[in-house]
């Protein structure tokens, strides 16, 4: 039995407003055969500086998708968001 653990970004979803949903998988193998896969997720909104330090390929995708107009549109949408009762 030779167990090994590998962490990869196995899914990146780009939403209509440029928001990026990231899924990171931790894959456990036994002699090269996958025996378990666990997920951790997070979200990066347009302009989120944290995306630049995420694992590949998130930085490249965010750089390509988050143009100045995309970031501006997202920020405008956030500014227009209403709290309960408004």
């Amino acid at each position: 039995m030779t167990l090994a653990s590998t962490t990869i970004i196995d899914k990146v979803e780009v939403l209509e407003d440029g928001t990026i949903q990231v899924r990171q998988a931790t894959v456990i193998t036994d002699n090269g055969v996958e025996i378990a896969r666990n997920f951790n997720r997070w979200v990066r909104h347009p302009g989120d500086a944290g995306a630049s330090t995420d694992p590949a390929p998130v930085p490249a995708i965010s750089s390509a998708v988050w143009t100045t107009p995309v970031i501006a549109a997202y920020q405008a949408a956030v500014a227009a968001q209403k709290q309960p009762g408004q």
């Binding site: 949903q21 666990n38 951790n40 979200v43 709290q83």
Partner: protein, 172 residues
């Protein structure tokens, strides 16, 4: 493992018109948007069960630092249930709303409420709240006037803790 489909008589059958089929191994939907389609019940898009996933998420805080424990999510179709509990908030003085971000999926076009309990606060928070298009959770108290969010200045003690669970609709 290849997909094998066997009907109730034990014989291989075409993929249509199966009667009580048995699937050996995983059934994989390799095409984006593929899933189990209940077209006889309603419109196709709203009647396709196309996702199931569970895992952990990475809560963030809008001011200062904190400690998040056991953050978990389960997604069934477009419904996502998240839970966690948080403590050790460094900001217990600012007047801004406590907002926990980092949800595993952005919420869709509906607002959602969830349950909560906590200790060491003078805000009688009654619900957790996720707005539409958001990846953050806010907390609100019942109020006789305007809506009353939980503020950092209302965390009365370093032992403040908050538990929450919310089910919300993702964008897909």
């Amino acid at each position: 493992m290849p997909l094998s489909v066997i009907d109730s008589t034990g014989l291989a059958s075409p993929l249509t018109g199966l009667n009580n089929p048995t699937v050996v191994g995983n059934m994989t939907f390799s095409t984006n948007g593929g899933g189990i389609n209940f077209t006889q019940s309603s419109a196709q898009n709203a009647a396709t069960f196309n996702d199931y996933e569970y895992g952990t998420w990475s809560p963030t805080i809008s001011s200062g630092t904190f400690n998040a424990l056991r953050p978990r999510y389960t997604k069934v179709g477009r419904l996502v249930t998240v839970s966690a509990y948080c403590d050790t908030f460094s900001d217990r003085s600012s007047s801004s709303s406590v907002s926990i971000g980092g949800l595993p999926f952005v919420s869709g076009d509906v607002e959602s409420l969830g349950s909560i309990f906590m200790r060491y606060t003078n805000n009688s928070v009654s619900a957790s709240y996720i707005g539409s298009g958001s990846s953050s959770i806010l907390f609100y108290a019942a109020s006789s006037g305007g809506y009353a969010p939980l503020l950092y200045s209302q965390l009365n003690n370093s032992s403040f803790q908050i538990y929450f669970a919310v089910t919300y609709a993702a964008t897909f």
